[in-house]
């Protein structure tokens, strides 16, 4: 049952630590009593202990390995290989890049890479994201341990960020990481899958003959 009105504006100012005018003794006493009760209540609250930390971290550990899809998942996944026209020039450029880089590789005892050699286990894949307001963009995926910044992208004059990576044959999942924290799926990806945590991972399939489906 409510039998009284609330505080006057001066009492509220008093309680807020602001300049106040005339405050009757009864109202000042009521205001002081309220703050005393709040202080007593606060003093009586026993803080949560380390058991809460342990419970949270146990849940985190159960989730952490699944936070990003398993790195070997693609080994077990069925593979389909198609090619989109957009990738043809990229693959041609990748083959040219292999030829260009071969003489500079610091492994003289290794057999030289030749252009005629078919690329059967690794394919150069070109990533692209238009993000004109981003300060940094990288690609994190199953192929680099989902490490933010492991594959940094370069900003073009038009605000389009690009990067090229040599990916092994298989299915890979990835996302762009904008400004180090914002995970963004590839808007041009052929397929996206739920990462189980409310996010969407993009999927790219690299075939044994250098064919790519993204």
């Amino acid at each position: 049952m409510i039998e009284r009105d609330g505080f006057s504006q001066d009492a509220h100012r008093y309680l807020d630590g602001e300049p106040y005018g005339d405050l009757g003794g009864a109202e000042a006493s009521a205001a002081d009593r309220l703050t005393a009760q709040a202080r007593e209540f606060a003093a009586g609250v026993e803080p949560f202990g380390a058991d809460l930390d342990a419970a949270v971290m146990a849940a985190v550990r159960r989730r952490a390995p699944a936070r990003r899809p398993g790195r070997l998942e693609w080994l077990l996944a069925p593979r389909t290989v198609n090619v989109r026209p957009v990738w043809v020039p990229v693959l041609a450029a990748a083959a040219a890049l292999v030829v260009f880089l071969a003489p500079h590789r610091p492994a003289p005892e290794a057999p030289p890479v030749v252009a005629a050699r078919p690329v059967t286990d690794t394919v150069f894949v070109h990533f692209e994201l238009a993000a004109p307001r981003a300060r940094s963009v990288s690609v994190a995926g199953s192929f680099n341990g989902w490490r933010v910044g492991a594959l940094a992208m370069n900003r073009g004059a038009n605000g389009v960020w690009t990067a090229t990576a040599a990916l092994p044959v298989g299915e890979h999942r990835y996302e762009f990481v904008v400004d180090g924290t914002q995970w963004v799926p590839d808007p041009t990806a052929h397929a996206v899958v739920d990462d189980g945590f409310g996010g969407r991972n993009s999927v790219i399939v690299v075939g044994p003959k250098g064919l790519v489906r993204s």
Partner: protein, 176 residues
């Protein structure tokens, strides 16, 4: 030197999930009293806070300002506390949630249990009033801190606190 929230968030997102413990320790201490006071039951408040931390971990990549993780987490916690209070109202007998009768409150005051009387009155406030009152008078925060945490303007928060105080005075005055 204590790591910043942003550094910890970035490390967790980069795969070092164990770093999340530092955030849990930091904000368990910072917001624990708030959770207990707003939920009104210690065990239920701990469940709410635990769930809030797990939800925050799951959604960490969507935290737009990692250096302000605390404010971001606080909003998750507030929602979680509100959900718990709503669920408890659905399942716990009303007499266990509502403030004690005049006789019970009088008895509490006679025993000098001012805090208990306040806790009982808090349960009668609206969620927004209760949160504002707890932040201001139990946690002792400034209006500016409250605005930062809640994303609400100072004037609106003052209004909530004033209404909460008025209600508290009426509720507690009724038993004196």
């Amino acid at each position: 030197m204590q790591l910043s929230d942003g550094t910890i968030v970035r490390r967790v997102l980069a795969g070092d999930a164990e770093q999340y413990r530092f955030l849990v320790e930091r904000y368990r201490a910072e917001f624990g009293r708030y959770a207990i006071a707003t939920v009104g039951d210690r065990d239920a408040a701990q469940d709410a806070m635990q769930e809030a931390f797990i939800r925050a971990f799951d959604a960490l990549a969507t935290c737009r300002e990692p250096d302000r993780f605390g404010a971001w987490f606080f909003r998750i916690l507030t929602n979680q506390c509100r959900n718990v209070v709503a669920r408890r109202r659905d399942t716990v007998p009303v007499e266990d949630l509502d403030p004690p009768s005049g006789e019970r409150a009088d008895a509490a005051l006679e025993r000098g249990e001012l805090g208990e009387a306040l806790e009982a009155a808090l349960a009668r406030l609206t969620p927004e009033q209760r949160e504002a009152f707890v932040m201001k008078h139990v946690d002792g925060r400034s209006y500016e801190e409250m605005a930062e945490l809640l994303g609400v303007g100072v004037d609106a928060l003052k209004m909530r606190v004033h209404r909460a105080r008025d209600a508290m005075r009426s509720l507690m005055g009724a038993v004196r």
